[in-house]
């Protein structure tokens, strides 16, 4: 049967990376082409190579020859489409550069190509398929054809695309004539937009979204039929003459390029003249080692360094390490705090180079996890920088290597539930209100299946045809790429122009360019990137250290923080960690009292255990149990001990799971590596299935408990994108420890540093200030006579107190703040008029200061301040210096409620009583307990409480449970809302600012929470506070 079918290669095929045109993923196209027995497939997205790596990945795995190309809409008379295919590496580079030029010359996401701009030599080593315009006159076509033939001799074809139009036969004859008079050969092509005919509806919807009209108004913008799919060879054989089909094979045979040929080199300039990369890296490593180990380098470390250098040399990664070292050195020279994260922390060389902070003396580094010869994949070095200063580092990179050699990796923005609902709904012609209602009702906790319920809520019948179409098309559209955005910090830096490896295009941000591939694509091709990331906590730590240096008179660094401090661990064990790095979240806080971290390694475990992997793998309780008993699991097999002994026999870290796969399920290192990749990507792409049988099956065969095997697999699934390798947890734990120590021993410096590094972390300034005050830190209000621009420490009369900065005042300009501080340093302000005059403040500035109660030292209570501030209207020059004497007006002081509310409105926090304290008498009447009363309450009691909602959270691992945090004058109350309660009290849960909760109080080994069974929205009480506050007479 197969022999009678014609051979065919599809040469004109768009994937969904031709945004809002293609209706199939690249992988789907490849798999379908293979199934149909195509000899080859070209992916030719419009002016883009963004989808080719994904196609390459599947094509390579399944063994289909893949051609790399792109399609262009050419502006000419008549206009036409041009498909360009790369013959070899050189042609690929040309194509990539060609796309780069077009993309860089147009705003994000667009391009323009005029026929006059096509320089034939720019497309050397490429083949061209000309898709003529069916509506054009023959004469115009024949002159276009002649131009193509002379510009691209022997490299251009006429693509004949027969898609079941009534005039197909005529058109074919037309093309034969055109071929004859222009001298161009003919080839068959399919203008493919989807892998299966059944994607037609989705393709129509994409068209509607693209033209921005409902489908009913799209008219002929839609394709007349579904023929733009990968067609069977049987049908192609009936449609096309054999010579046109044969030509596809000739062209495919001339394109002999694979993305695997791409290699790129790191920049040369990181190696000084007279040095080789090898010698320079060795030199820097040992220099650094001397600094890291002032007492001398141990034999163990020495051996490790030599091993690493040898491997780095064999893999020729020296320049990569030198490049990262160069970035880190630059940051240090500008006193920008930075620290490597991720698997690089397993490297002693990285430690010596100052890239990472995990000492090989203190822990066992698994260098193999970072770099291994078998894996033959690029090392991954991620470095965190202070979030406010990362831009300096990025600009340094652009300056040093130039824009053609440095570019940011892309992030492919895909359709999410809400955007898919919205766009499909609009295309189907639902009115905007309905679309909005359904899309908004789709709350963040709703599972995909919940759309049906949402449709019903929005007044639609889910059985109705339109609603059904909405539902099914929305699900199809999910995860379709929508546009390219910039990656958070992954830089590609190369020796030559990046644009010959991958096209570069403009990002939305001015002066930013991104490549057309994302980090998975780079991974697939083994291309190296450096992650320049931003971390708020580093800014805060740097500032806290500066406060300490200022206070004690000598320069403090992170290395000066004492290790293994008992008091710090006591604090951590009590979950007293508001503001601290990583272990401040509610989930972490509820784990701390149970896990009781006592030494640094416990913190490493703590950081990694409150993650989806260990939670879904059911590893948390067994681990806590073992810790409680103080012994490892009793049936831990000897062979697993090297992998699991340090965590009491329970796998916590990603690499432990991989080790288990190798030891217990006979995975080769290669297979384990595939598993790791699949682990990282399955959330987005799926594909863990095949590993299940392999892993569980082999573990069972090797005598492991099936339950244990399944748990390991669940854990693998849970790692998803969030798996923490041990070294990464280690780096984070370092910051968690340092910030905890600061909180415990320098709470004032820590608070001021956090306030000055906002926005960051889990808690608002108001919550941070409340927490610090509960820890006896004195916080002083903003005042023009005392405050600097930022929060500062004051040492008299008692040291140290935190003085809030002028920047706390909303709406006050930076310039005004600076002038106030400068004028005060000359001499203190005498009165309000003196301030206004010397700091050259506008009436607006003055009113803002008064509203913030920041003139208290000059003008009495807040209303009095405002009365005085408002008197400073600009007067004529003549009168400007003449003081006006006005009789003192005594305004009644505002009520406490008003003061508190204005504080919150203007400053976002208040140093007066908590608003809940004002409501307390009313709440007592209603028998609501405060958080302080709850803390004394025995577990198991039914009770009720009320507080201001600060957080609503639904972790993916929680199966529909919502965690709500309430705040009152004494602290925080943690509420757990199970799914059934959530369903019943959806509206109060969503809307309440002030929430009353009835439920059962639970306390267990130091962890306390309220299990809700009824929720009420009491936000109106805040309203009464507001109303009362105005009745002051």
């Amino acid at each position: 049967m197969n022999s009678v079918l014609p051979e065919y290669a599809e040469l004109h095929c768009l994937s969904n990376f031709s945004f809002l045109r293609g209706a199939s993923h690249p992988g789907e196209l490849v798999e379908r082409a293979l199934k149909l027995g195509y000899r080859a497939l070209a992916i030719t997205d419009e002016c883009s190579l963004a989808g080719v790596v994904r196609a390459h990945r599947v094509a390579k795995e399944k063994g289909l020859p893949l051609l790399i190309g792109a399609e262009f809409a050419v502006e000419a008379e008549p206009p036409f489409r041009l498909v360009v295919l790369a013959c070899d590496r050189e042609g690929y580079g040309n194509l990539s550069e060609f796309i780069t030029r077009l993309r860089r010359a147009s705003p994000k996401g667009s391009y323009r190509l005029r026929i006059g701009d096509i320089e034939p030599s720019a497309l050397d080593d490429c083949l061209l398929l000309w898709v003529p315009d069916r509506a054009a006159e023959f004469d115009a076509l024949s002159s276009q054809g002649r131009w193509l033939r002379s510009a691209f001799p022997g490299r251009a074809w006429i693509a004949v695309e027969l898609l079941h139009a009534v005039d197909d036969k005529v058109w074919l004859q037309h093309m034969r004539d055109l071929g004859e008079c222009s001298g161009l050969p003919l080839v068959a092509a399919g203008d493919v937009h989807m892998h299966l005919r059944s994607r037609r509806k989705l393709q129509d919807v994409l068209t509607a979204i693209r033209v921005g009209k409902p489908l009913t108004e799209c008219g002929v913008a839609l394709y007349p039929n579904a023929e733009r799919h990968l067609r069977s060879r049987l049908r192609l054989g009936r449609l096309y003459p054999p010579d046109l089909l044969r030509a596809t094979l000739d062209i495919a045979a001339r394109c002999d390029f694979s993305l695997d040929e791409l290699r790129y080199e790191y920049p040369q300039e990181v190696v000084p003249a007279g040095q080789t990369p090898q010698s320079h890296l060795r030199h820097l490593t040992y220099e650094g080692a001397k600094r890291r180990f002032p007492g001398g380098i141990s034999e163990k470390v020495h051996k490790q360094i030599e091993e690493e250098l040898k491997l780095i040399g064999e893999l020729e990664y020296e320049k990569f390490f030198l490049t990262v070292h160069d970035i880190v050195t630059y940051a240090r020279s500008r006193e920008i705090l930075c620290q490597g994260r991720g698997s690089a922390a397993n490297s002693t060389v990285c430690y010596c180079l100052g890239i990472t902070e995990v000492s090989p003396e203190k822990t066992t580094l698994l260098f193999g996890r970072f770099l291994s010869k078998e894996r033959n994949e690029p090392p991954d070095i991620d470095v965190d920088f202070e979030h406010e200063r990362r831009e300096e580092v990025i600009q340094y990179l652009y300056d040093k290597y130039g824009r053609d050699r440095t570019a940011l990796a892309a992030t492919v923005i895909c359709y999410r539930m809400r955007s898919a609902i919205r766009d499909v709904g609009k295309a189907l012609g639902f009115d905007l209100q309905t679309v909005d209602r359904v899309a908004k009702n789709h709350q963040w906790w709703d599972a995909r299946q919940a759309i049906e319920a949402r449709l019903r809520e929005a007044g639609l019948d889910p059985q109705d045809l339109g609603a059904q179409q909405w539902l099914s098309l929305t699900l199809q559209l999910l995860d379709f790429p929508r546009h390219l955005s910039q990656h958070t910090g992954g830089f590609v830096i190369s020796r030559g122009p990046v644009s010959r490896i991958v096209p570069i295009e403009n990002a939305a941000m001015v002066d930013r360019t991104v490549i057309q591939w994302d980090k998975d694509d780079l991974d697939t091709l083994g291309l190296i990137k450096v992650d320049v990331l931003a971390l708020g906590m580093l800014s805060a730590i740097r500032r806290a250290l500066e406060f300490m240096s200022q206070r004690y008179g000598w320069r403090h660094t992170m290395q000066d923080i004492p290790q293994d401090d008992r008091e710090t661990y006591d604090m951590i064990c009590a979950a007293d960690t508001v503001g601290v790095f990583q272990i401040e979240s509610r989930a972490q806080q509820s784990m701390l009292p149970r896990l009781q971290p006592r030494v640094f390694y416990d913190l490493v475990v703590e950081v990694a255990i409150v993650r989806p992997g260990p939670i879904q793998g059911g590893m948390v309780h067994p681990y806590l149990e073992c810790r409680r008993k103080g012994e490892p699991v009793h049936d831990l097999k000897d062979e697993l001990k090297p992998a699991l002994a340090r965590t009491l026999g329970i796998p916590i870290f990603q690499e432990q799971v991989m080790q288990i796969a190798m030891i217990a399920a006979d995975f080769t290192p290669g297979e384990a590596d595939q598993l790791r990749r699949a682990m990282a990507a399955w959330k987005r792409k799926g594909g863990l299935g095949p590993f299940h049988d392999k892993l569980v099956g082999r573990m069972k065969k090797n005598g492991y408990d099936p339950e244990f095997a399944e748990a390991i697999f669940r854990q693998i699934e849970g790692f998803g994108e969030y798996g923490f390798p041990e070294s990464h947890a280690y780096s984070f734990a370092l910051l968690a420890y340092v910030s905890s120590w600061l909180k415990r021993h320098e709470p004032a410096a820590f608070l001021a540093a956090l306030l000055n590094s906002q926005p960051m972390g889990f808690y608002s300034p108001s919550q941070l200030v409340q927490d610090a005050r509960r820890h006896k830190v004195e916080v002083r209000p903003v005042d023009v006579s005392h405050s600097d621009v930022q929060a500062a420490l004051e040492y008299v009369p008692r040291a140290p107190a935190v003085r809030l900065g002028l920047e706390t005042i909303s709406g006050l300009s930076k310039v005004a703040m600076a002038r106030i501080v400068a004028a005060r340093y000359e001499r203190p302000f005498e009165n309000v008029a003196d301030l206004a005059q010397r700091a050259a403040l506008t009436v607006g500035d003055m009113k803002r200061l008064a509203a913030a109660d920041a003139l208290a030292s000059l003008a009495g209570h807040r209303r009095q301040q405002l009365w005085e501030a408002a008197a400073l209207r600009p007067t004529t020059a003549l009168l400007a210096d003449a003081p006006i004497h006005e009789q003192q007006l005594l305004l009644p002081e505002a009520s406490e409620a008003e003061e508190i509310l204005v504080d919150h409105a203007v400053l976002g926090l208040s140093l007066r009583r908590h608003p809940m304290a004002l409501l307390r008498p009313e709440l007592n009447k209603r028998r609501m307990l405060s958080s302080a009363q709850l803390r004394e309450l025995p577990g198991g009691r039914h009770t009720r409480t009320c507080g201001i909602v600060t957080v609503r959270q639904q972790p993916g691992t929680a199966k529909g449970t919502i965690f709500v945090s309430l705040e009152d004058e004494d602290g925080t109350i943690n509420v757990i809302v199970w799914r059934h309660v959530r369903e019943r009290f959806r509206i109060p849960l969503l809307r309440s600012r002030l929430m009353a909760v009835h439920g059962q109080w639970q306390r267990q080994s130091g962890v306390q929470h309220l299990i809700a069974d009824r929720l009420e929205d009491w936000s109106h009480l805040i309203g009464t506070l507001r109303a009362e506050s105005r009745d002051f007479h």
Binding site: A135, L163, H164, A165, V166, D167, K169, R200, K201, D204, L215, T216, G219, V220, A221, L222, P224, N225, A226, E227, A427, L428, G429, L465, G466, Q469, K847, A850, A851, R862, R863, L866, W867, A870, A871, R873, I884, E886, Q887, L889, L891, P892, A894, V902, R1030, F1032, H1033
Partner: protein
């Protein structure tokens, strides 16, 4: 005692450039001139001073009753009577209708700050000083307040409380009606343009009311804007004639709309001017709709309107071409009097042979030896022309829902019926598979 009325029109997004407020406000102002010459446009309101007119209109109560009745069509958002104009305005905003119900000072003292715009402008300051009402503001020391607030605050308060005389610029009625309106955005749609035109018409009707008059003709000018304006010229104009003098906004609007629909717009329009040169005193109108001899000169649209009225709108229809792949969706029939959609996409229709006649409903064909038959066995000349679409279309056209179509069309030759446009379902179903859909003439 002075006798003021404040009327606050509903706010409108359209802004007339020749008047201080919205055109509705202008219209009310002109209308109000029939009761008193002392009419002023103040902020968003119209203020009328009526003391001198009371006798002319049969006393205070009668005048009030008449004004309120005749103001009904304006559908005002708020109103109030008071001894001062500014006071009436504040009371209207505060929802107090009768400013004579108690001492004016007490009524005003209780009003919130927002009721006087001069005071409201200082609200951020005054509220934080603890003031909630006008009374509380007045209790602050006068000198201190004058230093801290714009001088207009005290002045406005004094005027409202009757402690200082108000001075207003009285509204004057122009001789000619000539009003300009800037559209909120450039538009090519007749419907959007009509919104603006209706505002101008309402304004004109107010002007006519003040003169107790109507018009026989008026002219609407529009100005093109944007890049295409160069090709399309600076703008256009339309003059509408009526048989009798009238100021019926509905009627004039309908005439204008119809004419605009037929004229069409060549480029986006940015602003409109409405001119009505010669008002005429109104006489009782002839409301007859019977066909009369004089109607022989009647333009087509009037004829269609009349025919539709007599035969029912669904029986007088006109076609619209639509760019669509589906034969039955390529033309839509509308009631002739219904307004045509402003955009008619006719470009982009594929240049393919189209049958001259289509059947109201495809006709199932008999099959003989697997070949369709219609006036003899059909010979398929060319095809298939594959047509798939309409799955999204649940609209009813001519009483039928087209729905999802998957058809292969052919041009077929019938020994007796000539060239035919026939199709069969792509996916073969049971029963009828071949259909006749159109005939090439």
């Amino acid at each position: 005692m002075a006798h003021w009325l404040a009327l606050i029109p509903k706010s409108s997004s359209l802004v007339s450039t020749d008047a201080p407020g919205g055109s509705q406000q202008q219209a009310i102002g002109w209308w109000a001139l029939q009761f008193t010459p002392r009419v002023t446009l103040c902020e968003d309101a119209v203020l009328l001073e009526l003391a001198a007119s009371e006798r002319l209109f049969g006393g205070k109560a009668a005048l009030r009753k008449r004004i309120l009745k005749e103001a009904e069509p304006f559908d005002c958002a708020a109103r109030a009577w008071a001894p001062t104009g500014m006071g009436a305005l504040a009371l209207a905003r505060g929802g107090v209708r009768n400013g004579f119900a108690g001492p004016l000072q007490d009524l005003l003292d209780a009003l919130p700050l927002r009721t006087m715009s001069r005071v409201a402008a200082e609200r951020p300051l005054l509220a934080r000083l603890g003031c909630r009402t006008l009374g509380e503001v007045r209790r602050l020391p006068r000198a201190g307040l004058s230093r801290r607030c714009a001088p207009e605050v005290l002045k406005a308060l004094d005027q409202a409380y009757g402690e200082e005389t108000e001075c207003h610029l009285w509204l004057e009625l122009p001789e000619r009606f000539d009003a300009r309106l800037e559209l909120p955005g450039r538009t090519e749609s007749v419907a959007a343009l009509m919104q603006g035109a209706r505002h101008l018409l309402t304004q004109m009707a107010g002007w006519l009311a003040a003169r107790h008059a109507g018009i026989r003709h008026f002219t609407l000018h529009w100005h093109h804007d944007g890049q295409r304006a160069r090709a399309a010229g600076p703008g256009g104009e339309l003059t509408i004639h009526t048989a009798e003098a009238t100021r019926d906004v509905e009627y004039l609007g309908r005439l204008l709309h119809e004419r605009l629909n037929r004229t069409g717009l060549k480029a986006p329009v940015s602003d409109l001017v409405l001119c009505a040169p010669e008002p005429e005193s109104l006489t009782a109108g002839n409301a007859s709709l019977l066909l009369e001899a004089s109607l022989q000169r009647e333009p087509l649209h009037r004829l269609l309107e009349r025919l539709s009225a007599r035969l029912g709108p669904e029986h007088v229809r006109r076609p619209q071409l639509v760019a669509d792949h589906r034969l039955e969706a390529m033309q839509i029939w509308h009631p002739a009097t219904a307004f045509q959609p402003s955009t008619t996409a006719t470009t982009g229709v594929p240049v393919l042979p189209q049958p001259s006649w289509i059947l109201p409903e495809p006709l199932p064909l008999a099959v003989h030896q697997e070949k369709p038959v219609y006036g003899g066995v059909l010979e398929l000349l060319t095809g298939p022309h594959r047509m798939e679409g309409g799955w999204w279309d649940q609209r009813e056209l001519d009483g039928r829902v087209i729905g999802d179509l998957t058809r292969d069309y052919y041009v077929a030759l019938s020994p007796q019926a000539g060239l035919l446009w026939i199709y069969r379902h792509r996916v073969v179903r049971q029963g009828d598979n071949w259909f006749l859909h159109g005939v090439f003439a």
